[in-house]
């Protein structure tokens, strides 16, 4: 199962989906679109412990984290 993790005040909200299920993948892609359009940044982990920003939905990503837009503190 792949998972989309959305940072929020509860720690995070998790949305799991089966990458082999077209309906679930469609819902996950829709969620990706809604979140990124709302200003969230989507990131996935790469093998060397670093991370990578993605701008398009990746059904093969095992774990995608979404965080709100950045602002100066």
């Amino acid at each position: 199962m792949a998972v989309q993790i959305v940072m929020d005040t509860t720690g995070d909200s998790r949305h799991e989906f089966n990458a082999a299920d077209a309906v679930e993948v469609g819902k996950a892609a829709q969620r990706f679109k809604q979140l990124t359009e709302a200003g969230f940044t989507a990131a996935v982990r790469t093998g060397n412990g670093r991370s990578k920003i993605i701008h398009n939905f990746d059904a093969d990503a095992e774990e995608t984290v979404f965080f709100p837009r950045l602002q100066g503190g």
């Binding site: 990131a43 991370s51 837009r69 950045l70 100066g72």
Partner: protein
């Protein structure tokens, strides 16, 4: 006499209100306690997520020193992300000295672990964009109380100011 009566009545009313709040709080299942408990769970979830995205040596740094270090994507500079919410990103030079302090983070009141994870991802993936929205201060200037911690100063002005202190 009137003052004495007024004082007694006021104290009685205060005591009554205090008892009422305590009783109501108990009847409603101590909502303040629930809020703190929920916040604690959120912090724990965020900290667990943060650790999943860190390398083993970064986790060791975090647990031992309360910070971990990352490299900026564009400059290759070292940044130390401390377990604080404000002004918690230190730019470290090759000698290990702190040369600047940066502050940026995700919008909203996220748990600290999420806040730090967003900072890590931003520096590692789009350092320039992150620093473009960040506020910066120089440690020397902060010690001299010359600038507010969130003051914006261009990079070519700062050394001149530092020299005046």
């Amino acid at each position: 006499m009137d003052d004495l009566l007024f004082g007694l009545a006021f104290n009685a009313l205060t005591l009554f209100c205090g008892l009422f709040v305590v009783l109501l709080s108990g009847l409603l299942g101590n909502p303040q306690g629930q809020v703190f408990a929920q916040r604690g769970k959120a912090e724990q979830r965020a900290y667990t997520l943060l650790k999943r995205w860190l390398l083993p040596d970064q986790i060791a740094q975090l647990e031992r020193h309360g910070y971990f270090e990352v490299r900026g994507l564009h400059s290759g500079k070292r940044y130390r992300i401390r377990s604080n919410r404000n002004m918690n990103i230190e730019e470290i030079d090759d000698n290990g000295s702190r040369v600047a302090v940066w502050c940026f983070g995700p919008v909203g009141c996220l748990p600290l672990g999420d806040h730090m994870l967003a900072q890590k991802i931003a520096l590692e993936t789009d350092e320039q964009a992150a620093l473009a929205v960040a506020n910066r201060s120089w440690p020397e200037l902060r010690r001299g109380r010359y600038l507010q911690s969130n003051a914006r100063v261009s990079s070519d002005v700062a050394p001149a100011i530092t020299g005046q202190l």
